[in-house]
Amino acid sequence: MTRQRSGLAAGIVGVSVWGPGLEGWDASRPILAGAAPYEPRHSPPPAPAILAPTERRRTGPVVRLALTVAHEAAQNAASSSGLPPGSLRNVFGSSNGDGVVVGGILDALAGARGNERVVSPTAFHNSVHNAAAGYWSIATAGRQPATCLGAHDGTWAAALLKAMVEVAADGEATLLCCYDHPLPTPLAALRPTVSAFGAGLVLAPLGVGQPMATVRVGYCAIPPAPGAWAPRNPALHALAAGNVVAQSLRLLETLALGESDRHALPYLDGRLDLELDVAG
């Protein structure tokens, strides 16, 4: 049960973050590197300027969070490595999906009588787990495929593994966009998520673009040691424990510091071992 023979490697050519007091990569980098204090605050993601006004009006906070993260990582890869956003494969990961939209539909259905039509067409098409990826492809007029996934508390590990495999299997640069937003009442009590948080990476085959680090991952069916993915900065621990996508904070700190690191992420009853090497 301990075999680990997968040697997946990729270059990180783009990165992004959005969360409470972490408003984009450039603004967050000194915080993540420990050079500035972490001061959490309510940080609603901006309306996505990359969408035409008609589409933009149809987006809620969850899609906005995802698009903010996708856009910054893709821009980052475009300027570092000349990879146009529409040329990237896409992996979107979220455990909660658009709980705000789904919760609204559940409220409406609970109040519906007989054949009353209570679900709006826009809410319905926004309820699908791949809504954010759909808006992203509309925004970038991109035809590259997207896979959209969830794996409960293992969502960050699953999405990272999936994106690494996409790069390794087909040799294509891939956008990884992960996001989780708190569920609305009354679901929030059953699946607590402390704040909205998203993280993005653009992963490229080795030798493509200008990577800031090389990442290697391997799956193992033994759980990690407790706290093996904890951020260096104790002030970030509550966020890392309260939003499954914020399990990425350790990796983001490592990139901000420009250091190498090894850590393990929780993945169901196993783990994903992760090795970051800034020297390439």
Partner: protein, 400 residues
């Protein structure tokens, strides 16, 4: 070209029947599983409801997972010897070397719909409602992985109605990169009020049983289904002792429309891209394909656009049809269900032409089959398209 993968075990449960042979019989006898909508009768229309779901009990240890979606999944796992076949593979490879990659669009949301009807004072949901094990997207993956005793990586793919087709690609990559040796793929979607009301809001529910490719088609009939396949490398040891050709995934392609959340691209550009990529990876030319199992939902726009896309890739030289007249549109489960159907058509040598129509829409340019065509079928393209502009095409064939 990519290396083919074999489907060493398969199962499916839908309104057309329980098990692969029940599906073959329904197709050959041209018996639809659709019935008037008695799930949410106020909305009218017809549905593809799986009989026996209400009476099906999960194993006691898994009771916390009880919801319509996991019941369908459990019924499928216990059909066609599927769980036993996975257990044999687990003994060969090790539990940690088999991945679980499944597709669903709405997971167990019907459990949440019921819970919302029974909210307590103060608005709290009833204590017995288990969000993580029912409504959460990963519920299906967690259920299947636990019941089958697997320890490999797992994820649930949700690209709307392309979900359980897309998971073949995601699982195939895990195998090809050596992360695992085999994968359980497939998925489930179950009747729920959210999708019935949602499609009603879009005015896409047909008042009569759906009739894909008919000139007077009037929309979809929503169905439910679960299905699974065990995906392995083509050189995998035969554990079934047979020598008959094995069902194989020869290639797959995916794309995004980048056009609109719920309307297909007007020229079907994304669908064309997915089909061409799938053919290229399978190493096949369009004329090598014997049948195209269309997404063919029965809406005006989907079928017309898919016809344009199919005609631009295949001309009028390849038979195409939709099998949703038997099962209804099973949403995120249609990819696996129609892969299983394609396997049955290849094994028995027939094309299942569209059900309930005499002549196809005269405006269509592709070669739409109606009725049963008895003839060898060696390779099939199966299309699945979803909201968000998610397209996926699988090329299935037989490997000796």
């Amino acid at each position: 070209m990519t290396e083919p993968l074999v489907l060493t075990a398969c199962t499916a449960v839908s309104a057309a029947g329980r098990g692969v042979l029940a599906h073959r019989d329904a197709l050959l006898s041209r018996t639809s599983g659709l019935q008037p909508n008695d799930f949410d009768p106020g909305l009218g229309g017809w549905i593809g409801r799986v009989p026996g779901t209400e009476a099906h009990a999960l194993p006691p240890a898994m009771a916390g997972f009880d919801c319509r979606n996991n019941r369908l999944a459990d019924m499928a796992l216990r059909t066609d010897g599927f769980a036993e076949a996975v257990a044999e593979a687990r003994d060969e490879y090790g539990a940690d070397r088999i991945a679980v990659v499944l597709g669903t669009s709405t997971s167990g949301v019907s459990a949440a719909e019921d819970a919302y009807q029974r909210r307590c004072d103060g608005g709290l949901l009833p204590a017995e409602f288990n969000y993580d094990h029912t409504q959460d997207l990963f519920s299906l993956g967690s259920y299947v992985r636990t019941v089958l005793g697997l320890r490999g990586p797992a994820l649930v793919v949700s690209t709307a109605c392309a979900s359980s087709a897309r998971c073949f690609m995601d699982a195939g990559q895990l195998i090809r990169t050596g992360v695992c040796d085999a994968a359980v793929v497939g998925g489930a979607d179950s009747l729920c009020r959210m999708t019935l009301h949602g499609f009603a809001a879009l005015e896409l529910l047909s008042p009569t049983p759906c009739r894909p490719c008919a000139a007077d088609r009037a929309g979809i009939s929503i169905g439910e289904a679960a299905g699974f396949a065990l995906l392995e490398r083509a050189d995998a040891r035969r554990r079934d002792g047979r020598t008959t050709p094995r069902l194989a995934l020869l290639g797959a392609g995916a794309s995004s429309d980048g056009h609109h959340m719920s309307h297909p691209h007007p020229e079907g550009a994304g669908a064309v891209g997915a089909m061409r990529q799938a053919l290229r990876r399978a190493g096949l030319a369009p004329h090598d394909v014997d049948w195209i199992n269309l997404h063919g939902t029965g809406t005006r726009a989907n079928d017309a656009t898919e016809d344009l896309a199919v005609a631009s890739v295949f001309g009028d030289g390849v038979s195409c049809s939709s099998t949703k007249g038997w099962t209804g549109h099973t949403l995120g489960a249609c990819g696996i269900l129609e892969a299983v159907i394609a396997g049955q058509c290849m094994a028995a040598g027939f094309v299942a032409g569209c059900l309930g129509i005499d002549t196809p829409d005269p405006a269509f340019r592709a070669q739409v089959a109606v009725g049963t065509l008895d003839r060898p079928v060696q390779s099939v393209v199966s299309n699945s398209f979803g909201f968000g502009g998610a397209n996926c095409s699988l090329v299935l064939g037989l490997l000796s």
